[in-house]
Symmetry: C2
Subunit: 332 residues, 2 copies
């Protein structure tokens, strides 16, 4: 993909920390590739990187203006166009992770062309995929699956990749969403693939490999999310996972963007994912649970994780607080 | 959509009867809209309509040349382009149900433009969909689901629609694939929708309706098909079905296009569909089974259907041989 960097992370007027996942991901996992963040009045969240104007970002050497917010449906708010024009004028290319293509917005397309800047829509696959086959291929694969959207599947997968690589285990992070692609520099945004090709695109993303190589595949959505379960199921079948890690966010009171809809239990998520995953890999196992415990104290987090281990007989960690050692151990 | 008709059905050099489903559907369900079929040397299947040349089709008044074959992945074989050019020259518009857009094939695009003909890609949605909500809406809905692809979901759904309409029940057939769209003149090909919007597109296809109105929604694929299960699941969640009809083809020895992969049992299909469907409609019920028994005699078909009824406690019919009366009765 050859993404230009360093990045200036644009978080618009966001007020929901989950909605700036793309910017936060780059700030957390590739801070050396980011000069800072740029926000608009009304914005009440932050990536933790220094705030600056577009001009200051350009002075710090930013080569790309990253649209670092995501919203259900991925539509670009017209009020954000002016900032994009300013970034183009300040010398930056634009990296976009929304469903809307920047080239379809005439004002942006014309300005980019006039100035010779690139508009990079990282969510849109440029490959022509085949339909899935379900045929077993060499190499080992782990997939993170969730009780809901935005519960830490990408963070868990990246933590596993870095943890395993540091132990000398052959492991590759496979990005399946715009945030992961921004961090990894490559991948396939499966939620933007034409639905006939979901599992086929994932078969292409993590093809046959060495017998002792692990593809660590970032999960998307949840089999229990009524908007996105189709994406999750195609991803599950195309991954043919040997190992599943169940991801959960503690104390979330409803499914993402669906007030009133409660989250499924860990047991339900395990059961439904195993039943579906056995269609392409009868030997699939759940090897552990990963929980985003940021809503509680360190002590409460430990109590919760221990209770999950007791209840399910599986290791349970918050990767940010406890590391992923227990999960890697379970994998071996 | 305003499709031009009557149709000349082009079946290429097909040898697999299932691969000309689109042409056969139009011939079976809308024969009054078809003048005949056109095939190439090597073709060993037929729609049952009179064979004719493109010139003869034009003389009989054909206004559209329908690419009546489908193949996994939906790619247009380059050897078929010459026939399309001839049909354009003979005065016809082209109706295409493949993933490939006709406008992307320069030879066809140029000829159509020069002659002022329409290239109609009925598989490609022209609507911009929202993501699904899972929120319950008024009206009743039935969805056909399958043990496999191409087992008779569309035929069952159309049979139910005509059967219910003839009894004065408010019922609308909702097409979700190119064949159904060709018959109904409208619909959404869900396997061509960007995967984030599968269930949202189905919510748009069968919106809130009268409390006593039935949307009869054509199913796609199978939750057990490793290539297409994501499409099937999004369709299931977006449909919010009150009633499911399980569709099956008797004596099929492997999943469509996947030699060696056996079909799931009816019990497995019922269990997995109910578990998933309850996410958007906890009151969903399986009301019957529909079997394509064309591989056996009338007597054997009856024996088989009776055995299914005994085994599952559900009405079981071949809609073509036995009608759908038993299913409509179960619905009431």
């Amino acid at each position: 993909m050859n993404l230009p960097s360093p990045y200036l992370l644009f978080i618009g007027n966001a007020t929901d920390p989950l909605s700036i996942k793309m910017a936060k991901s780059a700030a957390d996992w590739s801070p050396e590739m980011c000069v800072g963040e740029y926000s608009l009045p009304g914005c009440s969240v932050t990536t933790g990187l220094p705030a600056m104007t577009i001009e200051e970002g350009a002075q710090q050497g930013a080569k790309a203006f990253v649209l670092g917010f995501a919203n259900s449906g991925g539509v670009l708010d017209p009020s954000l166009v002016a900032s994009i024009i300013t970034a183009l004028e300040a010398g930056m290319d634009i990296i976009n992770g929304l469903h809307d293509k920047l080239a379809d917005i005439p004002e942006i397309a014309e300005k980019a062309q006039a100035l010779g800047r690139r508009l990079i829509d990282i969510r849109h696959p440029t490959t022509k995929f085949k339909t899935g086959t379900g045929v077993k291929r060499p190499g080992k694969r782990l997939l993170t699956v969730g009780t809901d959207c935005s519960v830490g599947k990408m963070y868990t997968t990246l933590s596993l990749a870095r943890g395993m690589q540091s132990q000398g285990i052959k492991a590759t992070f496979r990005a399946t969403g715009q945030s992961g692609i921004l961090v990894a520099g490559e991948g396939v945004a499966v939620d933007c693939v034409v639905s006939d090709f979901i599992s086929g695109s994932v078969e292409a993303l993590c093809p046959a490999n060495d017998d002792d190589h692990w593809d660590l595949i970032e999960g998307q959505g949840s089999l229990y999310h009524p908007a996105f379960a189709g994406v999750s199921l195609g991803l599950l079948h195309g991954s043919q996972p040997d190992a599943l890690v169940i991801c959960h966010a503690l104390n979330r009171d409803h499914m993402r963007a669906l007030p009133g809809r409660p989250l499924p239990s860990l047991e339900q998520v395990i059961e439904m994912n195993l039943t579906a995953a056995r269609i392409t890999n009868p030997d699939v196992k759940v090897i552990g649970v990963s929980v985003n415990t940021s809503s509680v104290s360190e002590d409460e987090a430990l109590v919760y994780c221990n209770s999950v281990t007791e209840q399910l007989g599986l290791p349970c960690v918050d990767p940010i607080r406890h590391g992923v050692g227990a999960l890697v151990e379970a994998l071996e």
